[in-house]
């Protein structure tokens, strides 16, 4: 039985602020509110990586949050998509090149949807999520290769020990 079509009917989101200015975070919160009501799409803000499908990351990745970002990414079971919300999560934005910023979520984990804006609007976030759902349907269940993870892509059906993925993060000095 092909269950892939049901993935997009029940996307549970996890939100992580990797060092942003809060602007996008409150807009994510606003998405939950009655005006935008993201639960229409079956979304729940789980707050728990182990039961989430979509990771919403905001903010340029600061040095202190980079390992936490990879850790919670590793704790999410595939298939999963990552949405970088806002300019700084996508590229580093105005913070790019600052001494404590790594600049952009895609430096660490594979990102599927980039949502623009500073700060990004709820409509844009919802649009990004809907685009992510289309990607989610096509995803495989293997772990994806990434810039800093230094992990080979893992095929479906093989056992993977995720316990030490974040240990392999090496600091990048700019």
């Amino acid at each position: 039985m092909n269950l892939a079509p049901y993935r997009k009917k029940s996307p549970w989101i996890l939100h992580y602020n990797a060092g942003g200015c809060n602007g996008c975070d409150i807009e994510i919160l606003a998405c939950l509110s009655p005006k935008y009501d993201i639960e229409r799409f079956g979304m729940i803000n789980t707050g728990n990586p182990k039961q989430s499908d979509i990771l919403l990351v905001t903010g340029p990745v600061t040095k202190r949050s980079r390992e936490r970002l990879v850790e919670i990414y590793a704790q999410m079971p595939e298939p999963k998509v990552v949405i970088s919300c806002g300019a700084c999560a996508s590229t580093g934005g105005v913070f790019r090149g600052m001494y404590n910023c790594e600049g952009g979520v895609d430096q660490f984990i594979p990102v599927d949807v980039y949502v623009c804006g500073c700060g990004t609007r709820p409509e844009q976030i919802i649009d990004g999520v809907v685009q992510a759902l289309a990607i989610l349907e096509k995803k495989t269940k293997g772990l994806e290769e990434s810039v800093k993870l230094k992990k080979e892509a893992v095929k479906e059906g093989h056992q993977l020990n995720r316990r030490h993925i974040a240990d392999e993060i090496k600091p990048v000095l700019t």
């Binding site: 269950l3 892939a4 049901y6 993935r7 009917k9 029940s10 549970w12 009655p34 009501d37 639960e39 229409r40 799409f41 079956g42 789980t46 707050g47 728990n48 182990k50 039961q51 499908d53 079971p77 595939e78 298939p79 269940k141 479906e156 995720r162």
Partner: protein, 279 residues
């Protein structure tokens, strides 16, 4: 034939009914919060999606206990619907809860542990009340068998209104509804014992919640005896009451919950027990 067929059908369809009930409840809740809410079949979409996830767990003991929680809860529900002994049903339910609590304890995860601690406290809060209610029922019927309640002439509600109120007061604890959802407490311990489950293993715990709905509403239905109309009325009333309560209260602390449940609900059930023993 009919006596057996309906319970068996109910038992087999329990997850389905529970899922529908849960989906409907999510809509009602959303409407109460002036939102549109998810579609009615949302729980089943969740179910199918969870089955599709890559499998992941902390360790095998933990995952296995979660599955057995679902199995044993279904079994407890079956015994209840087939007219089994009420005290035995309560203890079987305790057994299934205890498997989940043990699963919570079995990992070295802080929130899972905390959730298990709180779930154990919740057991302390509602179990004595349920047992007292069961004994009150025994006094009226002379037997603990729920079959006798389902076939009884007069609805229990007329004889034990206080016990019914006590049941209503402890149901939010069992169903993890505000104000007594300390065991789940999303903002505090992110789901408690459910936290470490994922994918297919979480599915077992997630579906067990649907069974818990059926279990609790069957307990409510007991108070109507053989009067099906009254039973449906009670269930609808309880449904509305639970959702209204959920939407108008904040979560209290576990100490306040324990004090309230044992103090108020326990006293009500006890008074009802005394009344029953004197009448």
């Amino acid at each position: 034939m009919k006596d057996v067929l309906i319970p068996v059908l109910l038992i087999l369809l329990a997850p389905l009914l529970g899922g529908l009930l849960y989906g409907f409840e999510r809509i009602v809740k959303a409407r109460m919060q002036r939102r549109i809410g998810p579609p009615l079949l949302q729980p089943f979409y969740d179910f199918l999606k969870l089955a599709d996830k890559r499998r992941m767990m902390v360790h095998s003991t933990h995952a296995f206990l979660g599955i057995m929680h679902f199995v044993s809860l279904w079994f407890a529900l079956a015994v209840l619907l087939l007219g089994g002994d009420l005290v035995l049903v309560i203890f079987l339910h305790l057994l299934s809860t205890s498997l989940l609590i043990l699963a919570g304890y079995s990992t070295r995860s802080v929130f899972s542990h905390l959730g298990a601690n709180r779930a154990a406290i919740s057991v302390l809060a509602y179990e004595p009340v349920l047992i007292i209610i069961a004994v009150s029922i025994f006094m009226l019927n002379g037997t603990f068998d729920t079959a006798a309640v389902f076939t009884g002439k007069e609805p229990l509600l007329y004889k034990m209104p206080l016990a019914f109120i006590a049941l209503l007061l402890v149901l939010p604890i069992k169903l993890k509804k505000s104000p007594f959802d300390v065991a789940e407490a999303h903002q505090e311990i992110t789901g408690g014992v459910e936290l470490e489950f994922s994918g297919l293993f979480y599915e077992a715990v997630y579906t067990a919640r649907w069974l818990d709905y059926i279990f609790c509403y069957t307990l409510v239905f007991l108070f109507a005896g053989s009067n099906i109309l009254l039973g449906i009325g009670l269930v609808v009333f309880t449904f509305i009451y639970l959702n209204a309560l959920d939407n108008s209260t904040a979560r209290v602390s576990y100490k306040q919950m324990l004090r309230f449940s044992l103090g108020v609900a326990g006293t009500l059930a006890f008074i009802n027990l005394l009344i029953n023993s004197f009448s």
